[in-house]
């Protein structure tokens, strides 16, 4: 199977560790991973901000850059969802759904002896619809204690440019999410999307919390 990594613009720039971890997990499972070097952004930022013509052009660019691969795997449910559900590129997968639903793997041989809570990002729940794939993978991690978040299906308040245009509302949503995360007593809060982790991590850090935001791929890559 020819697997391409779509690292996403935000992953490339701010979360390279999640991209490296994705490569490491896929290679550990015996896959050759390609990184089409011309890739940039799926266009979601433009699409969600009301610039659909620009978004359409970026999506078309994505298609040509990733043409010919059997599977395109991304450490982002939101970007994968934009390409698959909005633009109809069928072979784009978020990492956890690729592992569990496409490859049938639930134990990737990881070890992460920590208390972890999982934030289900909105687009993983309602756009990409990854189901319980992330939880299955986390349960397969050696030494990991998974603790449930109260209001696990509630948005963290990121929402792309919403976090800037409606910064006050976004911050109010974040404050509640951070309080819920803190209440679990977890050491780490994990999720499938760098964007939401940017928000949650930024809130936790500002609140001098001891809880760290970490991408699911990094947990799966740990041994």
């Amino acid at each position: 199977m020819r697997v391409a990594l779509f690292v996403t613009c935000i992953g490339d720039t701010l979360f390279p560790e999640a991209g490296r971890a994705t490569v490491s997990v896929l290679e550990r499972l015996g896959h050759d991973v390609a990184f089409p070097s011309e890739q940039t952004c799926c266009g979601q930022m433009h699409l969600n901000s009301g610039y659909s013509a620009e978004a359409d052009r970026l999506a078309a660019r994505f298609r040509s850059v990733f043409d010919g691969f059997d599977a395109i795997v991304s450490p982002s449910s939101s970007c994968a969802g934009t390409m698959r559900e909005h633009y109809g590129v069928e072979n784009v997968y978020e990492l956890s759904e690729f592992l569990v639903h496409r490859l049938g793997v639930e134990d990737v041989g990881a070890r992460f002896p920590h208390r972890v809570t999982y934030h289900a990002t909105c687009h993983s729940l309602r756009v990409t619809k990854v189901g319980d794939a992330p939880q299955r993978l986390l349960q397969g991690v050696d030494g990991l204690e998974l603790v449930e978040l109260s209001r696990p299906r509630e948005c963290c308040g990121f929402g792309g440019t919403f976090s800037i245009k409606n910064a006050d509302t976004s911050s109010a949503m974040l404050a509640d999410k951070c309080a819920d995360v803190e209440a679990t007593g977890a050491e780490y809060c994990t999720a499938l999307d760098g964007s939401c982790l940017l928000q949650i991590g930024g809130g936790l850090s500002r609140g001098r919390s001891g809880v760290r935001a970490i991408h699911l791929a990094e947990i799966l890559a740990s041994t």
């Binding site: 390279p16 610039y51 620009e54 948005c155 929402g159 976090s163 409606n166 006050d168």
Partner: protein, 453 residues
């Protein structure tokens, strides 16, 4: 319909400062949300019902002209009068004329968003006619000159001590108890006189049946059926999208609505009436007020499927923080964010489609499957065409250009790394860093790491 007086971010900022409101709202919306989830969870065919609801409304809208004429004919055949109103002024004039022709200077009203939309009470007051709200929450708002902040529970932003003090000042001098039972009793005593004296009642409608001319309302308090039965004359104002084609279609909606709205299997009172019996008079006002403009937009028109259940409000993380007043319209929450801009014109409510994190919780619960996130995206594009500032356009254009080549993107990443320490306090990033830290850019991007590999 009146356009929001200020932008959503500005109004939200003010509302967010009210900590008590946020706590109350959160508690109330969580309670209704959980009730809804329980009664929806017990329906094995819920998804089929949603599909049916959507299909019926889509059919209605596709043939609305025919169904409206069919409805008019059926109402007239059953002895009712039908009035067509292009806008609020025409609708209000009909109600005022009917009241005046019966020498009524007081009318009793049941809870109706449509009459709030056209600001009927103010219009009647200009004609010297006093309209009394008979729904408990609407009465509270009317007595205090306040306005609705939730479709189902309009006074959700008020607590019972405030209501007791208000009643003591107005309809129940000397009341000391703030027990809900005592407050309700005070309202009952006040309203009973109004019901018995009024010659004209005014209602909205949950559904109008094209096939039979029947009008249907669902309610919890029973005040609605007092308004529709005690006065000899009834005026019903309904939006043209409130029709359903056949009587049998009510079977679908009377399952969808109460479960989605109050979280009940069935609401306490359901009233249906067809035309008027001898000695009574029924006037039906069919209101457009911007709806045909919504109908003309093939993506946005699904907003007209809405049956005003308010499930989208109760699951919305934005609504549950800001409350309804931030939306500046009688239609708050996610449905308001897509309906208001279409009714008043996108240029008059351009910030509303952006009042969402696009989390999609609203779409998940909508009983008639309005794809609110998709409509929001569609309206955002329209808002940008209508209103976006030059700076934003230029910025977004620059970012798109930067994303359209890998070398440009790489250069932008290097530039961002250099600018990072200064940029945090400027422009859009300042809005971020006021409440949140920004993860520092790592020394190496993924692309740089991959090349070295």
């Amino acid at each position: 319909m009146r356009a929001p007086a200020e932008s959503f971010p500005a109004a939200a900022r003010r509302e967010l400062a009210n900590v008590q409101l946020r706590t109350n709202l959160r508690k109330a919306t969580d309670t209704i949300r959980d009730k809804r989830a329980r009664v929806v969870g017990e329906m094995p065919d819920w998804e089929d019902l949603r599909d049916a609801g959507r299909a019926i409304k889509a059919d209605l809208l596709a043939h609305l002209d025919d169904y409206l004429l069919q409805f008019e004919e059926a109402v007239q055949a059953a002895g009712g009068h039908v009035h067509w109103a292009r806008d609020a002024a025409e609708a209000n004039a009909v109600v005022a004329d009917v009241a005046r022709s019966h020498g009524a200077d007081e009318v009793v009203k049941m809870k109706s968003l449509t009459t709030d939309e056209i600001e009927l009470n103010d219009a009647l007051a200009e004609h010297g006619i006093c309209a009394t709200e008979t729904d408990f929450a609407e009465l509270i708002l009317q007595l205090d000159g306040d306005w609705s902040s939730h479709i189902l529970v309009p006074a959700i932003h008020r607590n019972r001590t405030e209501i007791r003090d208000l009643f003591a000042r107005t309809i129940a001098p000397g009341i000391v108890s703030d027990d809900p039972r005592d407050l309700a009793e005070a309202a009952r005593l006040y309203l009973r006189e109004k019901f018995l004296a009024a010659r004209v009642g005014v209602s909205g409608a949950n559904f109008g049946v094209a096939e039979t001319g029947t009008i249907c309302i669902v309610e919890s308090e029973g005040n609605g059926r007092m308004c529709t039965t005690l006065p000899r004359v009834l005026v019903t104002v309904l939006g043209i999208e409130k029709l359903v084609p056949t009587f049998a279609d009510l079977e679908v909606f009377l399952q969808l609505l109460p479960r989605s709205s109050t979280g009940e299997r069935m609401n306490p009172y359901t009233s249906l009436w067809t035309g008027a019996t001898e000695g009574q008079e029924l006037h039906v006002v069919l209101l457009d007020n911007g709806r045909t403009r919504v109908l003309a937009d093939d993506v946005g028109r699904q907003a007209l499927h809405c049956i005003r259940c308010s499930a989208c409000l109760n699951v919305c993380p934005v609504y549950s923080r800001t409350g309804g007043h931030a939306y500046g319209s009688v239609y708050p929450g996610p449905i308001g964010a897509i309906l208001t801009p279409q009714l008043v014109g996108i240029e008059n409510a351009a910030s509303l489609p952006f009042a969402s994190s696009l989390c999609g919780a609203c779409y998940e619960v909508c009983p008639v499957k309005i794809d609110i996130p998709s409509v929001l995206l569609h309206l955002r594009t329209r808002a940008v065409s209508a209103r976006a500032g030059r700076a934003e356009r230029a910025g977004m254009g620059l970012v798109a250009w930067m994303f359209s080549g890998r070398r440009r993107f790489g250069a932008a990443q290097r530039l961002a790394r250099l600018a990072q320490p200064f940029a945090l306090r400027l422009g859009p990033l300042a809005a971020w860093t006021r409440t949140r830290d920004l993860k520092p850019m790592p020394k190496e991007t993924f692309g740089e790491w991959w090349r070295k590999r």
